[in-house]
Subunit: 519 residues, 2 copies
Amino acid sequence: MASMATREVDHATPTRRGRSARHAERLARAIETVPYLTRTLPPVEVLSTDGLEAIEHNADTLLQEVGIEIVNFPEAAEIFRGAGADVQGTRVRFERGMCRQLVQATAPRSFTQVARNRARSVVIGDPHMVLVPSYGSPFIHNLDEGRRYATIEDFRNFVKLAYTSHVLHHDSGTLCEPVDLPVNKRHFDMVYSHIRYSDRAFMGSVTHPSRAQDSVDMVKILFGADTLEQEHVIMGLANANSPMSWDFNMLGSAKVYAENNQIMLITPFILGGAMAPVTIAADATQTLAEALAGMAFCQIVRPGAPVIFGSFASSMSMQTGAPTFGTPEPQLVLFVLAALARRLGVPFRSGGNFTASKVPDYQAAYESAISFMATMQAGVNFNLHTAGWLEGGLAIGYEKFILDEDQASMAGKYIEGVDVSDNGLALDAMLAGGPGQHFLGSPHTLANFETAFWRSELSDNNSFEQWELNGALDAAQRANIRWKRRLAEYQEPPLDQGVHEELLAWMEQRKSSFPDSDV
Amino acid sequence: MASMATREVDHATPTRRGRSARHAERLARAIETVPYLTRTLPPVEVLSTDGLEAIEHNADTLLQEVGIEIVNFPEAAEIFRGAGADVQGTRVRFERGMCRQLVQATAPRSFTQVARNRARSVVIGDPHMVLVPSYGSPFIHNLDEGRRYATIEDFRNFVKLAYTSHVLHHDSGTLCEPVDLPVNKRHFDMVYSHIRYSDRAFMGSVTHPSRAQDSVDMVKILFGADTLEQEHVIMGLANANSPMSWDFNMLGSAKVYAENNQIMLITPFILGGAMAPVTIAADATQTLAEALAGMAFCQIVRPGAPVIFGSFASSMSMQTGAPTFGTPEPQLVLFVLAALARRLGVPFRSGGNFTASKVPDYQAAYESAISFMATMQAGVNFNLHTAGWLEGGLAIGYEKFILDEDQASMAGKYIEGVDVSDNGLALDAMLAGGPGQHFLGSPHTLANFETAFWRSELSDNNSFEQWELNGALDAAQRANIRWKRRLAEYQEPPLDQGVHEELLAWMEQRKSSFPDSDV
């Protein structure tokens, strides 16, 4: 399956003529790019208030009795001490309710991340949902080459695919690791690529506080330093070292983003059974405790700095210890944490199109869909990993990106929920029809057909015979044609030449000011 | 992709030794076959009581004003007239609330379908869920042969796969159409195959009332005529001719099953935009109206005869008119109808692993998973089409059967929901650990690991390198190995020889009593 030829014809959009062509045009107009989605469907709740309160109580008990270990970052412990935490050496303990109070006092319930194309700025928080591509893979996969290490060329490709998407709303950050560049200088080229090849909002580096600062400095050149005092233009993602530990790189980077009034996505990353007990409620409890500490830290550093409560929870194969995806337990964790985030009153991030599969096969799709359905249902506000994930995140797939993006386009329709207006109930249409009559040409159908049903652009709903005539391509083969065409047709968004030159000069100076290193 | 060699090695269950082998054995014991599943997770609700009441009100309006057209079956109109309906020619109208009252007065909320192996009898109704393979495909698909017409040999193969499943609970009915047999005699061989090659509960014929009667007569030989007066041992599936119409074959078959105290699954089959308006609420309204009439009919024929409220709702491509699956709208219809069935107080059937794809690819899996997730969440009691569906139901796939069955095994874990007992909350385990400590060997993990996480038997969670060493098979290729092994290892369940001979003799006599026909 690693390499298979696909023909350069896109069968999903055949040429149409006459009435059928006008029909297609009307439908195309109905698919308008929105900068982010809006929910009316009530979120799925899997626990009663009692159950949620028990988890909140236990999270407070953890913060009070176990506390958070601060690794290699004495300054952070002092920052916590200054806010009233009990610090003994590297351990920080919190009075019951202290972290929650810090977060609720100043963290915004909702905020805007400004894009350099302001029409594409995103609102993060209820009742909205922002779809964001995958993050963090050292490998790429495609049908032509199989799996190999990612390069900066791949990184640029994925920025271009994100930029040209009418489904995704944000460009993510480390779409893949450009392993052909030195570890300590990759972030320059990643941030630069986001700025140059797209005009959407994106994320900066968190692998060292100095790289977080470089990321912030680059958006200062792009937006102007004053803008950052008023608006939020870049985001960092910090993972806790679960259980109950935060380290220098992550918390140090969080400090940089928060100090600069920028966005921190605070995400405990928990492999149940390894970094937390094996139960759903325990994973949720520990995630809440760790995230509360991280978000409280940002609020102490700069009250009002926007934070997102994140969760990455995976189940584990009890045979091999490998993380597993698309299983019931992480979906249930997700529902619980989304409810806890609503109670806390901050935006929530979790979910995505997750899989452990190595290729875009049945396993990959099933696991991804189970994960993404929960993502749509739970009330996720910022959905990292919407498109591309393969192999437990070790790889980002070109076909997987296109396949996931296509399926994720259902989210807007899904979270609209059920319309019970008179038009939605359609009683008159049913009374006007009669037994055995079809509704294809009825006035109600004609008035509603453009937006009636979500449709995939990539799925094949043709007859078997038509599908065979079109080359009998499977979904991954059709996606292979799509990403190549998207990259071939890509055009750079305009960027102010002065800003561009300043950015290049600044990067050149910074890059040459210290030696390359792969640490 | 149509034919690809796969090696006769099952990489999903490698040989294990020592501690790892004991570990695997303990896990295997934890996977016990249960005859059906039990739900504790609350069902997903997408509409308020007001919304549900509006739909119920409109369904009554449809039944009152439009009514039901009875096609070629004057006796049914007379049966309705006898119960107080307003009959004018072939049109039957109902006073507001009449059908609901008839159903609620006598239809059981829950009942048992007895299997010839009584340990495998299923309880149909809340809080239970019965998983049932696909139904009704004229074609089969597998990786070796591609797609071709189904034969009685395929039918037997799918009965054997259902029988040997530790995930499915019921054998369905027309697993595929044995098109090598005459249309008017296929039902004999199908019912006989269910009886002989499995010991689970199954469904009989509904293509003509005389074939329904033959099906009932055959289970009378198997169970004894007296048993049928006391217990329910066979089920028929009737689809309405939407909109608002029931015909002779369907309602006539329903009459046979009900008269004999057997189970009728009453399922309007609605392609939104064609057989009903394009909106979710209208599809639900019409389904409710049509199903109420069908279920009321059964209760008039024999008060207390078990009925299941079924729904098959698909969206439509507004380009081509083709049915589409795994889209948001049918899932929302499913949630609404499950809630309406709970309010009515009868078991509910809907959902499954649906797809329009021709092959077990990314599209097939994504559409299936989106459908099946809603099925698990909604509170479906009888889940036809759990395994096998391809190509909008035109084909049943051998690999698809195995892949769906494997994924459906998550349902038991999923509908358990979130445990907030002390063991589930696991506070002591978290307090006993410490920052940065793993939980792999903790007493809580050791006490819970066997049942902690659902795991697929077919998914590959190995490293990329291990997966390559194992042959780099995708999920469909692994499934190909599985179904062949299952069929090769199949052993017939014992059947009383006297009963077997009586069945064969009866069939022989019936078959020779009228000429073959393909109508």
